[in-house]
């Protein structure tokens, strides 16, 4: 039962995937294709990669994308300072020998992409928020992700020692190219449903009361249905759950005041704070079973 196996593996390290995600991860594994995760900020896209690395007991190599990200920051770079020192130290010796020396592995600085393909054990490569990078970089990624080899002019071609498991995430700041999308498997990550979110809370905060976890998950899902500017993500839910557990609250309805005061763990903008009045939080609380 391949997906169940994936699901169990991830659950063991504290990530509760839904069935479809487990299937996508299994396909990623068996077809050796990158997986593109899209979804709102805070739904736990990055967490998938972290859990995957943890489950396979391997390195998580993360490349955070941003506008203007280029090859030298993503792939490799020469260590210029050391090269200059080496040149000074060998002044007077044969020029070509110096050159050969300074363009060797010793002076090569690995950046995430190069590091990812040179691991002894297949790493998990997380290319985070790929939509923030420029289109040129996206095109460059395509080449790397299909061949898993890199050519460095001074050194030659470096072929992957191991093929990493690649996870890309996107928040939809920019439309990604069809070429990149086609190269990847796709999964749209949504906010977890009440049951799954309760299980996430339980797995992260083992001491917490099961009933309370369910109430919290319920309340958060109701808040997400409100017309807010920034819906609370899973991390915010966990913060809130930890706060409530720390305050030794057993039932949300017993203490609506505290519930309202601690909602700031979930609400992140002034506009939303204004909208989430005591009346609103009481009304929502009334719906929590």
């Amino acid at each position: 039962m391949p997906q169940e196996q994936v699901a169990t593996q991830l659950a063991a390290v504290g990530y509760i995937p839904d069935r479809d995600l487990a299937m996508a991860l299994w396909l990623m594994e068996s077809l050796k294709r990158p997986l593109l995760l899209e979804g709102e900020a805070g739904v736990g896209k990055t967490e998938v990669a972290r859990a995957l690395a943890h489950a396979h007991d391997t390195r998580l190599i993360r490349l955070q994308c941003y506008e203007g990200l280029d090859q030298s920051a993503a792939l490799y770079e020469w260590n210029y300072q050391r090269q200059l020192l080496a040149i000074k130290a060998r002044e007077g010796s044969d020029a070509s020998a110096v050159e050969e020396h300074i363009f060797s592995e010793t002076y090569l600085l690995e950046r995430p992409l190069l590091a990812a393909i040179r691991q002894d054990k297949p790493a998990v490569l997380l290319i985070d928020e790929v939509d923030r990078a420029d289109e040129e970089f996206e095109a460059f990624l395509l080449e790397l992700l299909s061949d898993f080899q890199v050519s460095i002019p001074e050194l030659g071609t470096i072929t992957a020692t191991t093929i990493p498991r690649v996870i890309l995430t996107s928040n939809g700041t920019r439309e990604l190219s069809d070429a990149l999308r086609r190269r990847c498997l796709y999964h749209y990550v949504d906010y977890p449903d009440v049951d799954r979110e309760a299980r996430i809370i339980l797995s992260r905060l083992p001491g917490i009361d099961t009933d309370l976890a369910l109430q919290i998950a319920n309340m958060v899902s109701l808040i997400r249905k409100e017309d807010l500017r920034k819906s609370p993500g899973v991390a915010e839910t966990l913060d809130w759950a930890a706060t409530l557990a720390g305050l030794e609250i057993r039932h949300l309805r017993d203490d609506p005041e505290t519930v309202h005061e601690t909602l700031m763990c979930l609400i992140k903008t002034a506009e939303d704070t204004a909208r989430m009045t005591r009346e609103v939080s009481d009304r929502l609380l009334g719906k929590v079973a």
Binding site: M1, L27, S30, L36, W78, Y80, R182, Y186
Partner: protein, 395 residues
Amino acid sequence: MSAALEMENPIGAGARTKLNGFVHVLRDNGFVVGLAETRDALTVLASPDAARPSRLRPALRALFCSRQSDWQKFDELFDAYWLQRGMKSATRISGAPQTSPPGLQTQAAGQRGFGESDQADHVERGEGSEVSETGQSKREGASRTELLSKTDFRHLTQPEDLEAAHQLAERLARSMRARLTRRMHARRSGQRLDLRRTIHKSIAHGGTPLELVRRKRKDKPLRLVVLLDASGSMNLYSAVFLRFMHGVLDSFREAEAFVFHTRLIHISPALKERNPQRAMERMSLLAQGTGGGTRIGESLATFNRWHAKRCIHSRTCVMIVSDGYDTGPAENLGVEMQALRRRCRRIAWLNPMIGWQGYAPEAAGMKAALPHIDLFAPAHNLDSLEALEPYLARI
């Protein structure tokens, strides 16, 4: 679930044909599915672990979807194809539209009335092309173009004139797009010293920085966001505008398009369809349910809330094409316009009625919006569309 699925041999010819059929349905619905995906799907089908019906859906979804809109459509198409459920809607999506909204009816009629050869003829005439056999027809072509570009769209009654105007609008949009993109390259400036690369180069000279490497800061390209009123009162204009927008958007990634009437609909994906006719078909499906009042304020609120963050960056021009007749409260429109104003570089409001004699912006909605507009311009004929270019180039 489906017994039929289980009976079939997963790698048999039957399953293969069935899968191919599914791929076709997906492609008809705008999915980008290539040979590699189909091959992988066959591999998945052949593996005993995934060929069970309950696993087929998530597996094919991960393989065949490549964007959120695909993800949302997938279940319905899957059910329709594999479980013969909800077939009606699936055939409607892939087939020809049954009804067109008022704004698009004229467009569809214009296209249906004309065969391929007719259209080709109009292209030649529109360009004043050398291919025309006689000098007379050449002259006629030129004068027709001139006439067309000055005629208010609402006076274009003949289907062939309308079609010619559509084609001109599209061509105008394409050439504008090309020029705007070029200017964008030419304007890239701002020189800074790139220390990292300079040191890299100096290695070759034993550490003396002989070659200075400069870095140019890249300008963000101009982005256009078009919000088009597709309500009844605009229907003669919105059809031509859709064609114009298709010209601007097709293969130009820095643009987004929406139509609104009683609600807001994102139509960029449909506009990215290369073939104009297919694009129009897809859009008319999307825009179904037009008619009734125009809720400009509400539609703008939807835009501000759900799309603005993604669509708007520092070099964005938002173009609203509407006559400003809002059936909602005018204050709402004012508030939303103000919110939009804070986000983007420029707001251009194109109102076809400006081109009419004796027009004054008296509608309450239009009055409320005016203080937040950078450019209030007519858009009733092709000339007025062309006049937009210098404005856009300055942003």
